[in-house]
Subunit: 338 residues, 2 copies
DNA sequence: ATCCTCCGTGTAATCGATTCCACGGGCTCA
DNA sequence: TGAGCCCGTGGAATCGATTACACGGAGGAT
C-alpha cells in the first residue's frame, strides 16, 4: 500500500508538503497542491490512520460498551450513537458485554489499548476496578442508560419513575391488585431503580410488593421465563407481571404460553422498553418507551464535549407509558364494537 | 499514559528487553523478566496497540460491514462473528450500511484506512468499485449472506432453495394457489435469489408468479408495508404473502392489521429469516430459519484462514422451514381440541 | 590455553504520519 | 537601498512499539 513517501516522490515534493496538502494547511502553493493531489489520485493513496493516530495521539474513535447486542433496545442505541458520532467525525467501536462483567472488562481493556478518544458505557455491574481506574485516570467517559454511583462521570439516561407510576395507575384502574415485577440484577442501576419506582408507585395505591412477587432476573429472556414460572407456581399468583426489560418480557410470554394461559385473560404482562415487535405480539404488549435515539445522540454529544474540552452535561429524559392490551381491556376505541 | 520507555527506566533495562518480556521472547534472564513485570505492574502499563500495529503491520482486527443493524438477523450474525473472532484473538469493528451503498462505502473506506487485517461484508449492492478494488488489491475479504458475483472472494451463506420449495409445498397443501412475494433489491444476491427459488418452486406446482404478485422491497419494514398495501388493492389479492426478510414481514403485518384483516384467516404470511419474536406474534409466523450462528463462525474462520495464509473455503449451509400457523391451520397437535 | 558458540542485553533503524525550525527569495516600507 | 516580513518549502525529530545487529562474557570443545 502506498505511503506518504511514495506520494512525495511521485509529486516531486517533500513529505512535509504532502502532509500539508492533506491537512489543508494554508501555506502550500497551488502548483504543489495540484501535483500532490494528482499523485494521490494516481496512486490511490489513503493516509494510514494508524500512523496518524500514533503521531497525533488521537484516534477519532469512540468506544461503546453495551450490555447485550441481541437486545433491540441496545441495538437501537448503538445505531443512534454511531449516527451522531459519524456526523461529528468520529467512528464507533462496539463491544458487547453480554451482561458478563468479565467480558465487559475485556472490551474496555481492548478499547483502552487502542487508545480510543472516549468511552461510552452502559455498565453491566456496579463497577469494575478497571473502569473506575480509567475514569479516575482521566479517560473521557460517559455512562448511558445505566451508571455507577459515586463516580464523577456524566450520565445520560431515561427516567422511568413517572411512567412506572402511570403504569401502576393504569393497572390499578383495570382492577389489578396483585402486581409482580421481574427485576434486573441489583448491581445495575436500572435493575434496582425500576424495582424501587415500582414499589413506590404501589405504595401510593396502598399496595404491597411481597418478596415472592419480585423475580430476580438478569435482563435475559431465560431469567424472565424462570421468574414467571416461579410466579405461576405460587398459591396466589400475581394478576400482572411487569418485566424490567423486553427480553425478560419475551421469556415471560414463553412461560405463560407454556402453561397454556392466555394474556391478558389469565394474567397480564407489561414491559420496560418498547420495541416494534410489541405491536404484533399476541396480544400487543403494554410497555414503557424510552427515547432511545435521543439518548444515544445526547450521550455522544456529551462525550465529544468532554473530549474536545467543553464541559459535558448529564442528561435525563422522561420515558413514557404506551398502553396496549396485554394487561386487560383498554378503553374502547370510538367506533369499535365489543 | 505510561510508555515502554517508562517501564524500561523503572526496571533499569532497555526498551528492547521490556519488549522481549512482553512478547515472551525466550532469551531474557529470570531476574530481568521479574523486574520488568514488577515495573509493568507498578505503572499499570498497557502496550499501545496503535504503535504496535504501525510497526508490525497488523491490527488483529476484523471489519464487519452489515446491511442493517436493526435487523435481528444481522445482529445475531454480528454477535457470532465477534465471539468467534475473539476466540481466535481478533477484535471486530462493525459498520452499519443501513442498506445504503454510500454508507457501505464509507465504512469500507474507514475500515481500510485503519488497516484492519480482513473484511467481512454482506454487500448492500452489486459491488462498489471501492470494494472490488480492495478485493483485487489483495485485502483479505469474505462475503457473508450476500455476495457479489464474479469476484474471487469466498462466500459463506445459507442456501434457501430447498426450504423455499418446502414452504411452497406446505402452502400448496393448505390449498393456497395465489402466492405473492415481497422481494429484496435485485442488486443483492439474496434479493434476486429468493425470488428465483420461489418462482421455480411455484413452477413445480404449475403455478405462475405474475408481475403483480412481486413486491419490490428493500429489506426494510416500510417497503413491506407498501408492497402489501399494493397487493391488497389488487382486484384479486394473493392468499399468502411471503416476505424475503423479517423486517418486511413486520411491515406486511402492519399493513394487514391496518386493513382490519386477520392472519391467516383473510391472508397468510410467511417470512425468510426466523427470529425469536415470530413465536409470539399474532399468529406465530411460519418462517425459513438460517443457521445464523454457524454462518458467522464459518465466515470468521474462512477470513482468518485467508489472513494467516491458509486457503479459505466457501461454505454453504442449508436453511430450513419452520411451520407455524400464519399460513393456515397446521396439522392439529395430538390432544388439542378444535 | 585458545577458539567457538550461545546467551542476555543494548543500540539503533524502522513503521507512516505530523510539525517545529531553518532557509531562501520576493515583497513592502522607510 | 537596506531592513524586516511573510511565504513556500524541506530537513529532521517525534510518537511507541518491534527487531536486526553488535557486543561482552561465560562455558564447552579441542
Amino acid at each position: 500500500m502506498a505511503s506518504i513517501k511514495d506520494v512525495a516522490a511521485r509529486a516531486g515534493v517533500s513529505v512535509a508538503t504532502v502532509s500539508r496538502v492533506l491537512n489543508s494547511h494554508p501555506s502550500v502553493s497551488p502548483e504543489a497542491r495540484a501535483r500532490v493531489l494528482a499523485a494521490v489520485d494516481g496512486l490511490g493513496y489513503r493516509p494510514n490512520a494508524v500512523a496518524r493516530s500514533l503521531r497525533t495521539d488521537q484516534t477519532r474513535t469512540l468506544g461503546l460498551v453495551i450490555s447485550d447486542v441481541l437486545n433491540p433496545y441496545f441495538t437501537e442505541l448503538a445505531r443512534s450513537v454511531e449516527e451522531e458520532a459519524r456526523a461529528l467525525g468520529y467512528s464507533v467501536i462496539i463491544g458487547n458485554a453480554d451482561e458478563q462483567p468479565d467480558l465487559q472488562d475485556h472490551h474496555v481493556r481492548t478499547l483502552l489499548d487502542r487508545r480510543i478518544d472516549g468511552l461510552l458505557v452502559s455498565p453491566t455491574d456496579g463497577g469494575s476496578p478497571l473502569m473506575l481506574d480509567a475514569a479516575r485516570a482521566g479517560t473521557p467517559m460517559v455512562f448511558v442508560d445505566r451508571w455507577i454511583p459515586g463516580v464523577d462521570v456524566p450520565v445520560v439516561r431515561a427516567d422511568g419513575r413517572a411512567a412506572v407510576r402511570d403504569l401502576v395507575a393504569h393497572l390499578h384502574a383495570l382492577g389489578h391488585r396483585r402486581l409482580a415485577i421481574i427485576a434486573g440484577p441489583a448491581a445495575t442501576t436500572t435493575g434496582s431503580e425500576r424495582v424501587e419506582a415500582f414499589r413506590e408507585a404501589l405504595r401510593e395505591h396502598r399496595l404491597a410488593l411481597p418478596e415472592a412477587y419480585i423475580g430476580h432476573g438478569d435482563f435475559q429472556a431465560d431469567s424472565g421465563r424462570r421468574s414467571t414460572e416461579r410466579f405461576l407456581a405460587l398459591p396466589e399468583p400475581p394478576e400482572v407481571v411487569f418485566a424490567a426489560d423486553n427480553l425478560m418480557a419475551l421469556g415471560a410470554l414463553d412461560a405463560i404460553r407454556a402453561h397454556g394461559l392466555r394474556v391478558p385473560h389469565d394474567i397480564g404482562l407489561a414491559a420496560f422498553d418498547d420495541i416494534p415487535w410489541f405491536v404484533h405480539t399476541d396480544p400487543p404488549i403494554t410497555a414503557i418507551a424510552q427515547p432511545t435515539g435521543e439518548l444515544g445522540r445526547a450521550a455522544v454529544r456529551a462525550l465529544v464535549d468532554r473530549i474536545e474540552g467543553r464541559p459535558p452535561q448529564s442528561v435525563t429524559l422522561p420515558a413514557r407509558l404506551v398502553v396496549r392490551s396485554s394487561c386487560g381491556e383498554a378503553a374502547p376505541t370510538p367506533g369499535s364494537t365489543p
